[in-house]
């Protein structure tokens, strides 16, 4: 399923998009949205360096994948760098993120989640206070990654 959205043509993607986010509203406007397919977003990541500055990076890809358990998603942050001093970029997986939805948006939340990176669990960067929102094809995330506050804002890739 990796990079699914890159692999499908535009029309198929639009069909998925409708299915994922708006199909319900087409049938009944007050029915909550449901995540049924992967979605990849591209946007800006900002990490508070705790020295009064923010480290930002653009075109950061974040993939949302519905978990096997209903109401949960997995967030994959792909090739992210959290500091200018970091010589490598990492893929970081945040599992078991709870989501709730209304007919207009999906809300994400999670706390004390140990991310998976570099082949295993990464407790030093435990995710706390994760909140997020998907609305009109835009994903906004906010969380603490270890002791570092982190925000992300991206748009769904077509």
């Amino acid at each position: 399923m990796k990079n699914l959205f890159f692999l499908k043509n535009k029309s198929l993607f639009l069909a998925l998009l409708v299915t994922s986010f708006f199909a319900a509203s087409c049938e009944k406007e007050d029915k909550p949205l449901k995540l049924t397919e992967d979605g990849t977003y591209s946007g800006q990541l900002a990490v508070d360096q705790l020295d009064g500055t923010n480290y930002t990076s653009s075109n950061v890809l974040v993939k949302l994948t519905p978990a096997a358990t209903d109401g949960y998603v997995t967030i994959d942050m792909l090739q992210v760098s959290f500091s200018s001093k970091m010589p490598v970029k990492l893929d970081m997986k945040i599992q078991n993120v709870l989501y709730t939805s209304t007919s207009e948006k999906i809300t994400l939340s999670g706390n004390n989640i140990i991310p998976i990176a570099m082949g295993g669990e990464f407790p030093a960067y435990t995710i706390t206070n994760l909140t997020g929102e998907i609305k009109n094809g835009t994903l906004n995330l906010s969380m603490m990654c270890g002791s570092y506050p982190l925000t992300y804002s991206g748009t769904l890739l077509l």
């Binding site: 090739q79 760098s81 001093k85 970091m86 010589p87 490598v88 970029k89 990492l90 893929d91 970081m92 997986k93 990176a117 570099m118 082949g119 295993g120 669990e121 990464f122």
Partner: protein, 801 residues
């Protein structure tokens, strides 16, 4: 030290039989003498005497004139039938053609103790085959053209049979009648990979010489040689010969790691030749040979970066080379009503194996074992008019070849290589972010497997015309040459790795690179020449196009896979290097290289008054896409062929020989100025720099003096004293011309006493122990050089009866 490969068993079995080969041969010789003898000893003596005098005529001859006298002498001796095959397949016409030819005959080969082709370096001006590595290494440089690996710049024929595999070029000489080296492109007649010239080697013909030859020799380095052969005419129209040799040496270069010599050597071979003049119009010539080589090698010493001194070789892993070759050539000549049709069908089988400690250090980085198995078939037909006295003569031919090579070249990474070449780069980045954490690889060694299957095939049509007008001879020809090839590659590796910070168990990562490539070329290779002969003077000029086939950089695959594996592992970890120290090769970009083309223009003159022979040649070669070996950047250890843009090579060749009484003098000098006109490898611009590995000067100066005993001397019939000096240089070692080998010279000599059919010879090479280097390369940032061989000397006992 022995090579532990599939030849081990063979070698072990062969050790005893090899020593017994000489006995076997001598037994065969006895059988020949007793069972097949139909000629009286007088007959044999007669033939031998004439043959010897013919060889005498030819000694020190570098112009080809004496060879014609030799051929005439041979014809007188055996009342030669015109159907007999002699020399070149394209023979007769080539003798006339305008070309710079150096001919070295048997006597000179023996007087100068020439045991392999590379020892003719400098004897042939601007011809240089450095003696390094192993017998697999036959890097031939002619007039500024050459390459260390893959396709050679010269073609080689032995008794008309084309040697299609460069690995076989360096074979042990025994019973060689002559070596002709045609300098400059010979692509019109000889096709691919003759951009620098053609080497034509002929062995002694049983229809030319009859008798038994045997020799034993011993020299320093515990060098032992033995050789025996028998040549016999079965009847007036057929002859057979059986010859063989054995050589061994402990070597001259010490490996400090093991304390043993690293260049030990053993070699043996048998050749059976039969010639049959079936009728006045039809004849056959069959030559079958088997040879075997087992040796150490690669005595490369690290260069001390502070002092610049070359250390002894000092490596821990097994290194050496073994080769088994079968060669079968069948030639036939048919005289038609108005034409002569000649043909050669040949087959060669090569099975060789090279083991190499690729880091050449006492540490266990990585090793290569390259096993090759090749079948090569070639067919050539030539037709030309029977009447050789016509004003217009011509030659037309059709040829084809096919060869299939299967090469298995696994590279084994060992602990030091894993730690320093693979993990060091990865952990450097990680440790700065996660101090104290690292990636580990479970294996103490792992193999990067590489299997290549290459099929190369070609076909050609060619024609050359010769028009004689008074003192002028005009020559024009062209060749339409097609060559195709296909490569199938399968390279793979698997390791288990662990990142200490996050992983509790090792995880497997597999990398596979598979695919195939194809190359096709269609070339037109023209040639035009003219000469003017007036009495003893001859002036000539020619222009010709040369072509060297493209090919595949198979030797780079371990590097490609190593890089890919590192990236796959990091990808599996979810780690992406921002500024990757691992250059990710594009297989399609680096796997192939293009053909090399050149235009060769030359002009010269020769003057042959009496016993003096003078020859002067100027040449100018413009080369496009010259194939050169480069080392990829970074910490990679591979090497690859690349097309280096444009080069120009110009120079001159001077040949002098003089004979008066019992004194013979000879001199050959070559000057080459080969530079890049345009060469930017992406990292540096080398335009204007000298082409590396090419000697700017080659020099050979020699003298023979024969003391003939008074009639009835009890002690000797004659004493032959020979002395020569050979020099090479300057040779640049790299494209930037920052390192070089200055001009150096070596003194060689021999003294032989002849009595009856027996001679005793004392010989020496590099008698002054000149200190020089023959090869340079860079590996993992370290510079390595191979020193030239020190003084060698020995004695030989020879007999002809």
């Amino acid at each position: 030290m022995h090579i532990q490969n599939e030849w081990d068993t063979f070698a072990a079995v062969m050790n005893y039989p090899i020593r017994a080969i000489i006995l076997t041969l001598l037994t065969c010789v006895s059988l020949f003498n007793t069972v097949l003898a139909q000629k009286s000893p007088t007959d044999l003596h007669f033939y031998t005497t004439v043959a010897e005098s013919a060889v005498e005529l030819a000694s020190n001859d570098t112009t080809g004139r004496a060879s014609k006298r030799l051929a005439r002498a041979e014809e007188r001796k055996i009342v030669i039938n015109p159907a007999i095959i002699t020399g070149y397949l394209k023979g007769g016409v080539v003798d006339e053609q305008v070309a710079s030819i150096t001919r070295v005959f048997m006597q000179r080969l023996e007087t100068e103790s020439v045991t392999a082709l590379k020892e003719l370096s400098a004897t042939v001006p601007n011809f240089y085959i450095p003696d390094y590595g192993s017998k697999m290494t036959s890097s031939v440089y002619v007039r500024g053209l050459g390459a260390r690996i893959d396709n050679p710049v010269v073609g080689m024929y032995v008794d008309g049979v084309s040697f299609l595999n460069k690995n076989n070029f360096d074979f042990d000489f025994y019973d060689i009648r002559s070596v002709d080296v045609l300098r400059g492109p010979q692509s019109t007649l000889f096709g691919r990979n003759t951009i620098g010239g053609v080497i034509n080697i002929t062995t002694i013909s049983p229809l030319v010489y009859q008798g038994t030859r045997a020799s034993v020799g011993y020299g320093n380095g515990n060098t032992f040689t033995a050789q025996a052969s028998h040549y016999r005419r079965i009847n007036g129209r057929a002859g057979v010969s059986l010859s063989g040799y054995y050589r061994s040496s402990d070597g001259f270069y010490k490996n400090d790691y093991s304390g043993d010599k690293s260049d030990w050597y053993k070699g043996a071979g048998i050749r059976i030749r039969g010639q049959w003049v079936k009728s006045d119009n039809l004849s056959f010539d069959n030559s079958f040979s088997i040879s075997w080589v087992d040796q150490g090698g690669f005595p490369y010493g690290k260069v001390d970066t502070l002092t610049g001194e070359v250390q002894n070789s000092n490596y821990n892993d097994l290194s050496g080379y073994s080769r088994f070759t079968i060669s079968e050539g069948f030639s036939y000549k048919r005289l038609l009503d108005k034409h002569v049709l000649t043909g050669v069908t040949s087959y060669q089988y090569t099975d060789d194996c090279m083991n190499m400690d690729q880091d050449f250090t006492p540490d266990s980085y990585f090793t290569l074992k390259q096993s090759q198995n090749e079948h090569a078939l070639s067919q050539d037909f030539v037709i030309k008019p029977k009447d050789g006295n016509r004003e217009w003569r011509w030659l037309s031919g059709v040829s084809g070849f096919f060869k299939y090579l299967k090469m298995d070249a696994p590279v084994t990474f060992k602990r030091d290589g894993i730690d320093r070449l693979i993990l060091a780069g990865a952990n450097k980045g990680l440790s700065s972010v996660f101090p104290g954490e690292e990636i580990k690889i479970e294996e103490n060694s792992f193999v990067i497997g590489s299997l290549f299957k290459t099929a190369i095939y070609g076909a050609a049509l060619y024609h050359q015309s010769y028009l004689k007008r008074g003192k002028w001879l005009f020559e024009a020809g062209a060749r339409l040459d097609y060559e195709g090839s296909g490569l199938e590659y399968d390279s793979n590796a698997a390791i288990h790795y662990l990142f200490t910070m996050t992983m509790s168990k090792y995880r497997e990562v597999k990398t596979i690179i598979k695919g195939n490539e194809r190359l096709n070329y269609l070339e037109i290779l023209p040639r035009a020449a003219a000469s003017y002969t007036s009495g003893q003077k001859r002036f000539f000029a020619s222009v010709s196009r040369g072509y060297k086939a493209g090919g595949y950089n198979t030797q780079l695959f371990s590097d490609i896979l190593q890089n890919q594996m590192m990236l796959d592992m990091m990808d599996d970890l979810g780690v992406h290097l921002s500024n990757s120290s691992y250059s990710l090769y594009s297989v399609a970009d680096v796997i192939t290289y293009k053909p090399e083309y050149c235009w060769n223009m030359e002009a010269g003159a020769s003057y042959n008054p009496g016993n003096l022979n003078l020859e002067l040649t100027f040449f100018d070669i413009l080369c496009n896409d010259q194939q050169l070996t480069v080392f990829p950047s970074g910490s990679s250890t591979g090497r690859m062929m690349t097309n280096a843009g444009k080069t120009r090579s110009y120079g001159t060749e001077v040949v002098i020989s003089y004979k008066k009484g019992n004194l013979r003098l000879s001199g050959e000098y070559g000057y080459t100025n080969a530079r890049f006109l345009k060469y930017d490898n992406g990292h540096s611009d080398f335009s204007g720099k000298y082409v590396p590995y090419v000697p700017q000067h080659t020099l050979s100066a020699g003298s023979d003096y024969t003391v003939i005993a008074k009639r009835g001397s009890r002690f000797f019939d004659k004493i032959l004293l020979h002395i020569d000096v050979k020099g090479f240089g300057k040779i640049y070692w790299n494209e930037s011309n920052s390192l070089d080998q200055p001009f150096y010279s070596m003194l060689n000599g021999s003294l032989s006493i002849h009595k009856g059919g027996v001679s005793l010879e004392a010989w020496g090479k590099n008698l002054t122990s000149s200190d020089y280097n023959t090869f340079y390369f860079l590996s993992m940032g370290n510079s390595f050089l191979q020193k030239g061989k020190p003084m060698q000397f020995g004695i030989s006992l020879k007999t002809n009866f």
